[in-house]
Symmetry: D2
Subunit: 350 residues, 4 copies
């Protein structure tokens, strides 16, 4: 859809535009309005180069694209019937819960083993444990390979599948070799297409699940869904979309909570949505309310930072991790709200 | 708290700063740090002029204020024990529901009377009906005084207290004279201090409730709370704070839903929070999820655009009003979630 | 332009849509795409109610509007040839400079008289002086009617036309009665349509100029231009558009400088653009750079807070006012850059 | 600086806080205010873990940090006297100009060679040519290794040093091996700390310059400066900071132009600022005005997409590249404005 700056194109301009789109196998259908005319591009109007050529013309205001650029993530794609399983639970059939440390402390492995056991008892299906950490400040603690052994040992002790963030190809290889069950793409890498491609390539041969956090400053949902499309394009559709708050922060929270995008994601894609309220609000006391709001909006799962003794945690845990008791109460309430929104066998609320 | 640009103030700079704050009855207490020094202002550091004088100095980076500028709205004020009653319900003791038309159609009063009866049966405590409308486009329908009669007639027929937005002193006077029970300050007037003062003045002599919508583009919560302070300063503390989504919109909604500020407002103020999910999301099908999320975050009430036949509505109603059936289901679910969050007699979840 | 949620409308949906737009004198022209179809509305597609009815349908994603809602401000309107004169200068033919106090101190009229004389000598064409002040904090100084006398006395002493902000109908009446030459609509009233209408009405009978500040949190340019349309609709086209920075602030400034919208405004409207760098950056030392940037972007004028002794100022002056010396240097440089961008008689730079 | 939620800490709370900061070698100095008390942390208050532990306490509202986390980039560091040379020009002594294609078309190398020669003649000091491209859409053209040969051939033909963006370690190695003179970190990798570290490591042994684009959605300036700190920490201080517009876009441009951060960057760091107006505004016709605004704000250089025949370009070039003629006029005007801002030998304007 071409919008001219003036009220309509001159015949010469129309000829030039027609020639440009013709080179991409499209043609122009003018819509002659009473006040202003617009010009539909008939054919596949998604070609970036064609659009750039049109938008480069001085007399064009802009070109609106209508079609989705993500054919695999689209909820009308064949993948829509795919079901993703985490720790014995099929996403969409029961509320999925991922819980654990934001950062594993390599000097205190027992803290993590105790948390692992406690979140299992509280009802979590998967164990999260940060091994490597992205840090704004180059001089902060950036994680430790030893934590990977601690993570896998916690898996052996509890039987829970484990989840870790990877930030480059080296970490990706280490995590896959160790047998990590779920790879997390963090909020700072949502536009790191080299990493997204590498992960897509690597997990294509495995049954690994990818938990894709929404980018820290991400704008339109298409950016988020395109990041998922990069990963799925290589053949493994085990992807979970994870809103986790965006920056700049809502005045008083760590980020701007964004669980409200859940219905919008579900209209566009087939992928389960697992909300991370811990990073969204950034302070433990606000986490249960945000978690319930996520379920209210239709989330399929929750990712909750939990620590057996938050004040002894490292990284963000002292600030935002809840205790296993709070996690257990939160899961109990969230399941009741989930039941309210998924009545058996009758119709949904919203 | 004064932060210099350099690592510390020179003796001459310190003398100048001391003199400036001295003129406002304050003194300076330096905090000599290992790397950088800062300078506390001891006394009442809220004076805008003192801060502007300090920030005007070339060697000062900024002055941080710590104290709250709103002494009446603060939850530590004497007003914190005040309870606001709407339609027989005391806010905080039961989920408060306001429902009705965004815009009353002066040509079809029966539509509004039918809606009024239906929202009463669905469980609403107060009836909303837009008489005058703020419009971006000067040539759009701006409301009609006749709608005020229709609103009051609906009150007589149903017994429900009624709510209307006023945008200037003339409308304010008309609404109060007609006996409107709740005055609404709309999202475009959140920074219109002349109007806020006029309303505060006018309602001081009445028992009228003021529903203060959050400003359309409002930033820090202090702006919202200061707007309430303007109204309460004249003596009537019957104020409800109403988050209703902010602009720019979250990609796919009409606005950026902001029910998540509820816990932050409650930490700072004593006023009940009544969320408007209809304007937040802007499309009827998303309203029930957003309403539940508001209750999840601890809202005391909901304001829901409802219409007996949305497609026959005017203003925003065709797009965002739910039907009375949806309202009834929404209230039922919201009350269940409210009960989950307010267990009797035990403690709350979050 | 109607975008359905699915790849195309069903025949029943198309019939319903056709019926809705038919009621508004429009018809539908489908554009059948290879992948997705869209549906043009032929006729005047700007009716808000028609759009709301269409967007209320469950199967419609959104309706894109193409035509401008502001017929008078549009640069293709008959008003485009109107020239606005301030202090003997016709906007567009020479760089227009407005300068003076953000706030007149009613206790120190001489400070203002000295500033008035000094800005005249520095080359300003109009004298700005704040009489009434909008304040976030209800307990701050809100201005004083006495300052209006001081403002008019400064006019008598210097011959410069004077400019003051009005925030309600009462102040509007006082200012017009006193003979103020330019009325300013402040950044908090950009969406206060009752005030905009009242000003439009009042100035229609005068030759008064209106300096319309961009709203503090204003989003799309259409909001800004529509605010101008409200004023001009009553018959007086003496309007100056004034970008003055938006909120939230760019990290380190008072606001987010927005002089860069100048070329965008000029493409859409015929009105002169007068940039206020003082509020944009909020600190005197940054003002000259921001002023030059505004001229680089094609601004027709500048509005510069200037004070004979900034540290003795009140309101924002101690922080952001420059001295008359700095103003004079700034005007000299800005005029050189203006000459560079408006070569005589040859072509423009951009 | 610790801000409690209540007006002051209880003795027990103060003891707990004192113990936490004590573990990090700091102590607490209370500032007892008339209305509210705050608590300074004396020592190095930048430790993230200490801050997280404090902010995890229920009775703490927040902890304000004052000290800069970037010790090498700080303008008070020893590196401040370092001068960076590009194509024979020392940044800061003359306006630095980088120009060329956003994307090299591997099928039409001659277009690039012609552009290279033309930008040299127009006065550019360095040649930009995109080899690999980050793309939101996984199915778009992502660049081609062959373009690296074309880039180096253009260097041989013109003698201009060349600049290319790298997005991962593999591309980094290829670019360094080929002898690329300037590496560009793109706007999507501003928070990709693995890449930043890898580049810092790799260029430490070379004299390579790094052009660090500001992140696409970057918030506070500290994020930008910290990204530079990552690179410089390995020993090569040849870094140029490149504002290039942020997202979300200013209504009508491709991004939100951000040349206005230049004075803020210069107050905090010693590094030269090279503004990219092409991506900021995203349309060729707006580029000259934005370039002049950058110089008005004190930029040390400009990075301008230029193409011998924009409509034949690929990537973003058809839309935003200017022709060599426009580049030449732009450089001429920019140099005049530069001279105005850097009078010889007298003092600067701002």
């Amino acid at each position: 859809m071409i919008l001219p700056k003036a009220s309509r194109l001159t015949p010469e301009q129309l000829a030039e535009v027609t020639q440009i789109v013709g080179a991409f196998g499209c043609h122009i259908q003018p819509i002659i309005g009473a006040v202003r005319s617009i010009y539909a591009i008939v054919g596949d109007e998604r070609d970036e180069l064609m659009i750039n050529r049109l938008e480069g013309l001085d007399y064009i205001e802009r070109v609106d694209q209508i079609q989705s650029p993500h054919k695999l993530m689209d909820r009308r794609s064949d993948l829509a019937s795919h079901r993703i399983k985490v720790g014995g639970v099929r996403a969409g059939e029961e509320l999925l819960v991922i819980a654990g440390h934001c950062t594993i402390d390599p000097k205190n492995p027992n803290l993590f083993y105790e948390t692992a056991q406690a979140v299992k008892e509280a009802g979590a299906h998967s164990l999260r444990g940060g091994v490597w950490k992205p840090r704004t400040n180059p001089y902060s603690f950036q994680g430790d390979n030893k934590s990977l052994d601690i993570l896998m040992e916690a898996h052996r002790r509890t039987g829970l599948p484990v989840d870790a963030e990877v930030m480059d190809e080296h970490q990706l290889r280490l995590a896959l070799d160790a047998g990590v069950h779920m790879l997390q793409v963090g909020a700072r890498n949502g536009l790191n297409y080299s990493l997204l491609r590498a992960i897509g390539h690597a997990v294509a041969e495995h049954d690994t699940v990818v938990l894709l956090k929404r980018g820290l400053h991400m704008g339109p949902l298409n950016e988020f869904i395109s990041a998922a499309e990069y990963i799925v394009a290589f053949g493994n559709p085990n992807i979970l979309l994870c809103p986790r708050g965006t920056s700049p922060a809502l005045d008083g929270y760590r980020n701007h909570p964004d669980e409200s995008i859940t219905p919008l994601l579900k209209e566009k894609t087939w992928a389960p949505v697992v909300v991370d309220p811990s990073h969204s609000v950034g302070k433990a006391s606000y986490v249960p309310a945000c978690a319930l709001a996520a379920v209210a909006y239709g989330a399929d799962g929750l990712c909750i930072e939990t620590h057996i003794a938050p004040s002894k945690g490292i990284g963000d845990d002292p600030k935002q991790a809840v205790t296993p008791d709070v996690l257990a109460a939160l899961i109990r309430d969230a399941k009741q709200l989930w039941a309210l929104r998924h009545p058996q066998p009758a119709k949904a609320v919203a």
